[in-house]
Point group: C2
Chain length 304, copies 2
């Protein structure tokens, strides 16, 4: 079986109507009428963004979910995706089959289809790039820059599990029931939150809570204050007693949201937890339970 | 200067309005009203799809043009693009500056802007992925599958220059004035041909004329016959006397078009050259000037 056939066998079944069975040079898509498109692209390199021996199925799902998380951060609804794979040779068909199986699972879960892409050979590590398309009502995309002084900062889910999970997978931490590793392998994009009109600013957390708070605060021209004791930790993360790793570790793919203090009820009802506020100034301060500024590794104690 | 700042310095000036200064998790784009979107993605790996020491400016322009060629193949008008770069470390700022300069040049030439993307570290070779967006009138995208028995096959430009140019860059061929190398480094996407209603089927030539003819013929459920003596060669290619390389070598990024015999005049006026026809059957036959079937290297004499 030649390479064209091998790719076709595994990826053609994933193509939606707009993907034209992957037989053409491009996809043709009628955009949803009266909506704006939201588009993002993220890359992953084996050994850098995933472990070299991570199961192909999980690599595929993480790649897709990391991109879906960018749509979630904009308040958008997913539509479809394009994929480029730089694959080491010889092609490993079992790996391709697992990768396609992972995509199929999450395509069904998130209601999207493959639009197109490219596969090429590489002498280096597996390198993946995914472009995701979604849509929002015109003018309703959430931005990082909309935060206002006095806004409260909220996050979805729990923070730090993925960073701890990576340590566990590297044998540096005990993860008795695999919950933390699971959170590293399979982020949960926070799509579909009914918060249009409530969110002033939003982003997804990929580089670590403190650093990403710095990005949102900077985009809004403000300072962020985080109350470390209020940051939601899972029971598994609490058991690790590594708060600093949780505050600075990456790969959460939870949402960080800034909203007016009066909107706490709806944010709580959507499962978000208040962790701090935006105020006039610049940079990020992280305060401990006693209100003292914490010094965090990596210089993130006063980022920005 | 940290990595965020370095990327921002070189790429933020390339972002269009929809790119939101690359400050958000995604781009927000109002799609052209009453049009369908055409979307494609292509990847390049240094040492595989471009030479490891190719100038950054030319690598950028080739990556963009290879993708623009996919839009040309669908009869689409370009809109914008997303880019992911897996970059070896340490970051080479001179390389980044050259790469951004190349993008800026061709953004201006083709009327497009950067929408977003991602930069990541890689222990492997430079690996680039670009997703291009364009638009067409609804139902008017050119497809590979529309060829009809009796259609004539036409190509834009000249065939084989890029494959010869690669041999020249590898020191295997003399290229006195650099024309062939220039065609390898800088393909010319054939955008804007006024052939809606004339084109029955189209694709761009990236894998070699004979193999790609096989793809178009197979998608149309037909056989292709190519008259080798009619395939347009540049003076530089003629001087090389390597017809087989021209017929089978990749990287042309010219268009292959199937159209009714009665439409020859308009195709000629657009600068296309007739090279053969589609007929009932399967596979590709390449005939020499005497009408005898040629046997080509790589088994492409009767592909499909």
């Amino acid at each position: 079986m030649n390479e064209f056939d091998l790719i076709a066998r595994h990826f053609r079944p994933l193509a939606g109507v707009a993907g034209l069975d992957l037989l053409d040079d491009a996809a043709v898509l009628a955009p949803p009428v009266g909506r704006e498109l939201v588009i993002s692209a993220d890359a992953m390199v084996a050994g850098v963004h995933c472990l070299a021996d991570d199961p192909a199925e999980l690599v595929a799902r993480k790649l897709l979910r990391v991109n879906l998380s960018d749509l979630a951060a904009m308040g958008a609804t997913p539509l479809g995706y394009l994929l480029t794979l730089a694959l080491p040779r010889p092609l490993d068909e079992a790996w391709l089959a697992g990768f396609a199986r992972g995509l199929a699972l999450d395509q069904a879960a998130f209601g999207i289809a493959l639009l197109g892409g490219d596969t090429v050979a590489t002498p280096g590590p597996l390198t993946l790039s995914l472009t995701i398309l979604g849509h929002v009502a015109p003018g309703c995309a959430w931005r990082r820059s909309g935060g206002q002084a006095g806004d409260e900062l909220w996050v979805t889910g729990t923070i730090g599990d993925a960073a701890l999970g990576l340590l566990a997978l590297q044998g540096k931490l005990v993860d008795p029931n695999g919950v933390l590793a699971g959170r590293y392998h399979l982020p949960q994009p926070r799509l579909g939150l009914p918060l249009d009109g409530v969110v002033h600013a939003a982003m997804d957390l990929s580089d670590g809570l403190v650093q990403d708070c710095g990005h949102l605060a900077a985009a809004s021209g403000l300072a962020a204050v985080i109350h470390a004791a209020d940051v939601p930790l899972s029971p598994a993360a609490q058991a690790c007693r590594r708060l600093e790793t949780c505050l600075t570790g990456g790969d959460d793919y939870e949402l960080l949201v800034a909203a007016a203090p009066g909107d706490g009820t709806i944010l709580q009802r959507c499962g978000l937890t208040r962790i701090g506020r935006l105020e006039v100034g610049a940079g990020v301060s992280v305060l401990d339970a006693a209100g003292m500024r914490m010094t965090l590794p990596g210089g993130w104690d006063h980022f920005g």
